[in-house]
């Protein structure tokens, strides 16, 4: 038995693949119209649960194998694409960081799937929800277990899209779709950082693989730039300042999705990325100090905002952000083991607390303790906390405002000049009053029309001007010549000469 466990880590690719397969299967069933009604619901839920449970059991087996066979380390499953020394591999890094977090995530994922199957019974978006949830479970495992940056990026994006789709689960409500877009766009900033760093890694290090990347000896300046991109991605995903507002607007989805995404699992992905980069971070005390500062500021911010929240989901989300920012502080101080342990414990507790959010009324009996006396009477700070330091409004004003303005100008440019220059279908006007059938709009259209007029003129001039036109005469002349040539060729001697000439050419 123990011997058989030796190779179980080779199957780790199933952990992200199975939920994805479940998502694909459900998606196909929905497309084929095979997922309607209670029976369709049951099958979807069972399928997703089975995938989640299998992933969990597999991870538990791998964990067990660790006891006897040690950490599996980097496992290369296959090469996705390769060009010269550039290799995009499907590889997994199974170590003391990824395995515990992934196992816990798989457990929470399985429990949330079970929870959702009952909770969302007969909800109109049931199938949609499960497709997205399964996609998330696959994506987050790819993030956690990935052995290289590329796979992590893939999972990272899947989580981002899943999050977007679930915030907009109640798409009939404009608030939900607006907030989904807000969260999505904010997270794109982080994705840009991630992509930037991966590009640099490919360029400077020549590999996406974590072991190569983490052991790379780069000049400190380069390293700093490389890590900063990753750090931006981590800060955005873990909703640290200045990105925090998106997570408070992400609570529109069904309660279990809020629980697994923002309460317990996805919000920790950023912290996880930083923990993954730990060896690099330790070369850069200034970056660590920066993380420490951001973590501290976020902690103060989240604590302050948490004081005034009046709905249970918002109250819990600020509590979550607060503790996540403490993990960042721990990383900043170099206490990565503490941060990892805190991450796991926090994820476990918050999933319980978030799933029980609807029963807050029964779980608590008193008002929470008031804030310290020096704070209580401060109207300005209160207002700032209530308006969440205006961060989301600022984001909209500073980013969305100018973007909209640019878009508006570009649109005006397009409508006034480009569209006119290119021309639009159905807008054509006749350019020659004598030929009302030839209509054109825009530069290419006019050119074509002009060309067609020209050709028509040629046609008219040369061919159609009845008998005795120039063209007819020339053609008759050419016909006579050809007939003479043919008569000559038909004679045997000329025929033989032609054959011999052919042979000469061939030889």
């Amino acid at each position: 038995m123990i011997e058989e466990l030796r190779d179980v880590a080779d199957w780790v690719w199933l952990v992200p693949a199975l939920p994805l397969l479940a998502a694909l299967t459900t998606g196909a069933r929905v497309l084929l119209g095979r997922a309607a009604g209670d029976a369709g619901e049951r099958l979807t839920a069972r399928l997703t649960e089975l995938a989640a449970l299998t992933a969990l059991l597999l991870l538990v087996l791998i964990d067990l194998a660790v006891i006897w066979h040690g950490w599996p380390g980097q496992k290369i499953v296959g090469t996705w694409f390769a060009a010269a020394h550039w290799q995009g591999r499907i590889s997994f890094l199974l170590d003391a960081l990824s395995l515990p977090v992934a196992t816990l995530t798989a457990l929470i994922g399985w429990l949330v799937v079970r929870f959702s199957a009952t909770y969302l019974h007969r909800e109109s978006g049931f199938q949609r929800y499960f497709i997205v949830l399964a996609m998330f479970l696959g994506g987050i495992q790819a993030v956690l277990l990935s052995g290289n940056g590329l796979l992590l990026f893939l999972g990272w994006e899947m989580c981002g899209i899943a999050s977007f789709l679930l915030i907009a689960h109640a798409w009939q409500r404009p608030v939900a779709t607006g907030n989904a877009l807000f969260a999505f766009v904010t997270n794109r900033a982080g994705d840009a950082g991630l992509l930037f760093s991966l590009g640099l890694a490919a360029y400077w290090v020549g590999s996406f693989e974590w072991p190569a990347l983490l052991a790379a000896s780069l000049p400190l300046v380069d390293l700093r730039v490389l890590v900063l991109g990753f750090a931006v991605a981590a800060l955005a995903k873990s909703a640290q300042l200045p990105f925090t507002p998106w997570i408070a607007r992400a609570l529109e989805g069904p309660t279990p999705s809020s629980a697994i995404f923002y309460g317990s699992v996805m919000v920790h992905a950023g912290v996880f990325l930083l923990l993954r980069l730990e060896p690099l971070l330790f070369h850069l005390p200034d970056v660590l100090a920066g993380l420490l500062l951001i973590g501290t500021l976020t902690a103060v911010y989240a604590w302050l905002c948490g004081l005034v929240q009046t709905d249970v989901k918002s109250a819990l989300i600020y509590a979550t952000v607060f503790q996540v920012s403490l993990m960042l502080v721990a990383i900043g101080l170099g206490w990565t083991t503490l941060a990892t342990i805190h991450l796991c414990l926090h994820a476990a507790w918050r999933s319980w607390q978030f799933l029980l959010a609807p029963s807050w009324l029964q779980l608590t009996r008193d008002r929470p303790a008031p804030p310290p006396a020096w704070l209580v009477g401060r109207q300005a700070i209160y207002t700032a906390a209530l308006q969440r330091l205006w961060l989301d409004k600022l984001g909209v004003t500073l980013l969305a405002g100018p973007t909209t303005a640019i878009a508006r100008d570009v649109r005006a440019l397009e409508e006034s000049f480009i569209d006119r220059a290119i021309g639009e279908p159905g807008k054509g006007r006749s350019i020659d009053p004598e030929r009302p059938l030839v209509c054109a709009d825009g530069l290419p259209g006019r050119l074509l029309a002009a060309l067609s007029l020209l050709l028509q003129r040629i046609e008219n001039r040369l061919l159609l001007r009845g008998r005795g036109g120039a063209a007819e005469r020339m053609l008759r002349e050419a016909g006579r010549w050809l007939q003479t040539l043919e008569a000559l060729l038909e004679q045997p001697r000329y025929l033989m000469m032609a054959v011999m000439a052919t042979f000469v050419v061939i030889l």
């Binding site: 209670d38 929470i108 429990l111 079970r114 009952t118 909770y119 019974h121 909800e123 109640a170 409500r173 404009p174 608030v175 939900a176 607007r249 609570l251 529109e252 989805g253 069904p254 309660t255 902690a299 604590w303 948490g306 005034v308 009046t310 709905d311 249970v312 989901k313 918002s314 109250a315 509590a319 503790q323 342990i341 805190h342 414990l345 926090h346 476990a348 507790w349 999933s351 319980w352 607390q353 799933l355 029980l356 609807p358 029963s359 807050w360 009324l361 608590t364 009996r365 008193d366 929470p368 209580v376 401060r378 109207q379 209160y382 207002t383 209530l386 308006q387 205006w390 409004k393 508006r408």
Partner: protein, 982 residues
Amino acid sequence: MEPSIEQRLHHWIEHLAHVLPAQAPIRDFVHHNTLHGFQHLPFADALAAAQALTGAQVYWPAQRFGAEYAAGRIDRDDLSAALDDQGVDGLDDEVVGGLSRRQILLAELLTDVPGGAVPALAVCRRLLGDAAPVDEAWPELARRRWDALHAGIGRQYSLRALLLRLSGEDVLESVRSILQRHLAAHLDLGMAAWSNPAGGRGFFAAWKASAALDLSWELDELPGIRDEIQHLPDEPLPLLVDELRALLPDESLWPGYLERLALELPGWSGMFLWRDQHPAGGAGHPVSMADYLAVRVFLERQLCGELIRRLTGAPLGLEELHAYYHACPAEFLVREAWHLAVLPEDLLATASALCEQTLDGREVRGWEALAPRVAVFLQADESTRWAAGLQKLAGQLALDEARLNELGRDAVNRLLDAARLSPLQRGQIWLAAYEGHYRESLFVALAANVGRQAAPAAPSAQVVMCMDDREEGTRRHLEELAPDIETFGAAGFFGVPMYWQGVDDPAPQALCPVVVTPDRLVSEQVAAGSESLLARHAQRREIRLQWRERLYQGSRRAPLAGPLLTAAAALPGLLALTASSLAPAWASLAGKRWRTQFDGRVPTVVDPGVGDGNMPGFSDDEQVERVAAFLRTIGLSASFAPLVLILGHGSGSRNNPHLSAYDCGACSGRHGGPNARVLAAMANRPAVRAGLAARGIVIPDTCHFLAAEHHTGDDSIEWYDLEQVPAALQSPCDTLLKQLAEACRRHAVERCRRLASAPSRPSPWQARRHVAGRVADLAQARPELGHATNAAAFIGRRTMSRGLFLDRRVFLISYDPGSDRDGDIVERILLAAGPVGAGIALEYYFSTVDNERFGCGSKVTHNLTGLFGVMEGADSDLRTGLPWQMVEIHEPMRLLVVVEQAPAVLSAILARQPALQELVGNAWIQLAAQDPATGSLSRYCPRRGWLPWSGRAVLPQVARSHDWFAGESGPLPPALLLGGVA
């Protein structure tokens, strides 16, 4: 003398109570008529008024009724009878081509049922020709429509609604975002740790203090407002008057406008008003509706003003806006067509580009060119609708094209006139037909059951349950199981309105219908000799609860203890989650057991005579009075069985903010067990028995009253004071315990048939296990289905309904007409149970027909807010009414109350009771009578008086309930049960 503005405002605010949801904070959810403010109107008029005011659906959509028709739950005769009920004129006169108005109307209604061949639309359009509105020049069309719109401001629309129509931009979104945080903070009952420092001075002051410091205004490009807010008056009233005057110069429109504004965020407005009117239900901060309205009107004017500025380029007042679009009919017409979405795609794109560009603040041209092209579609829209109507109608009447042509234009127009039904009339007729169909099946059942039943001569036990429709099933199964048991039903507070304080309760709670304010208090006492146990219990319980509080609140917001608590609780939390996911029933039971073990058990007793320092208990005379009145009401004043069980009920579920919506409605949404226990304790006291005997109710010494509580969620029974059962009755008592437990298990089987995740055809034990797991499941949004099946109420002896399968759809209220010649008792019952039953039925009705407006939508996105309500997500209106999961299978119809009493007696009661006159006369409930002597049935029609019923009393017969419902998952018609008859 003209009343001052204060008085008038006070009056307007009082009026708002009629139109806003009157839901209390969610902890005390009690069913009530959603349209309680319209109850003075006849049902159909009230619904029309409510729709005009709120835009809500007030009937099921016609397609839904059409589907019921297709499923055989409504038939043609029902529709025909419904037309008679509505009092449509000249129903049987010929209109055209041998068709009577009745036939035409029936055909028109049945156009909602899918299927059937139809003539070509073009033919219909050609035939109608003149019927379509005349073509008019587009500027006239535009001005006519604009004038009509503008005149509706303050009556039908607020300025914001008008601007939404013109610009496509909803000011309300901003208003809600701005207001919602302040409102929730001010009303908060204990979620936030920190509330506005100025909150103690009222909402207006708090908002002003905070808004003046709020930088959002700058970011929203409304920079001037902050200064303006700083210099606002300190009192809301002057501000309100100023702003209203600036908005609407015409004062007569103010009350209507305030009503409109309040109704734009009905949930928040309703909660604010409730707290205004119930100061005791708050948490310190004073709540005044005038504050809220002042802020709301201020925001309306500011934000609408800003939008008008962007829309027209100038800060226009209402009259100026009117003049503006009068002068630019082209622009208005394009905007109108854009809003109504009647345009083909290319025009729509052009129109929306124009409309959106104005908001960007750019000079826009092209309205004039677009307007005439758009006008065509606005006009065509109307005529197409007419032609489509004719097309469907002709299809139903089997009039083919040839026949239509033959009839000619005039006849076709007459046909259409005869068929004209407003959507409201249509809904009303369908509803009447739907109700009629079910009523017919109940009448058949009642008629078939006449004379089949007699009360058991020497019952082994008598069980008094709540009138609740859910207990119909329990009673039926108990009687089937033990034919010698007699059952009764009564409002679940059992005639004992009181404050109750259990040993574990932090404060007394009122257990009685919500309209009654009790003046007696009963507190649970520790049994003699166990005082030290109680002290230990209280102490340990307090420790446990403090730790729980520390854990949940601390891990949420304590900066230092939070991470530590989180770390400590993570593993138990994860284990608990896993356990309750895999074995919810076991996890819940184990948790309960451990809690009890930790706290320690305390034996308790109840003495109805002992109150507390502030409020007395019931004196001996009062106890006699209460018990006698109660027993007389239910018709149990002689031939007592050895055991009389008073069975209250309550529900329980995990993770469910709407918890109390499943509890006993007669106990203000709480558990009715304590009332049962107090009544039993009263009836067992020798002093009370002596008093009763003096009043002619002789309870033999061999008779003992028991009390228990039925958990309608998991069908378990909690028994009280079993140690007081006399030794002689121990064995019958054991038998009763067993019988009731088995009846509950069988009842669980019946409940399982409506639950999709329950095993199909379960055994009683399986069913019981399923419901136990269901109630304990954290993920379960439907712990039970509540009153989802309620449809009728019977007031009479059990012989009237015993042996009938009624599918848990009927409130059963015991009443003996024999001892109530002049109807005094039934009058009291109707007064008490009528509003409770009507409240439940009507709340379910409205939450079903428009779950978006009257209900609170799906539970899955609910977010508990301020401990007083739920929002969808983190920024929405407060949602009131019932969640979709509770009404999913509900069949919306008005409660049918069948009273076993002579119609003449009931007429007299109606005549002298205005409250009942309102309910019955305005048709909020349907009333019927079954004559106690002959068993003949008649129903009351507000328009035509009592209508005797005649029909064939033939009903399917089965041996037991189980034979009728096994394998069925939909609603079932009544059946006669052959077994279980004593």
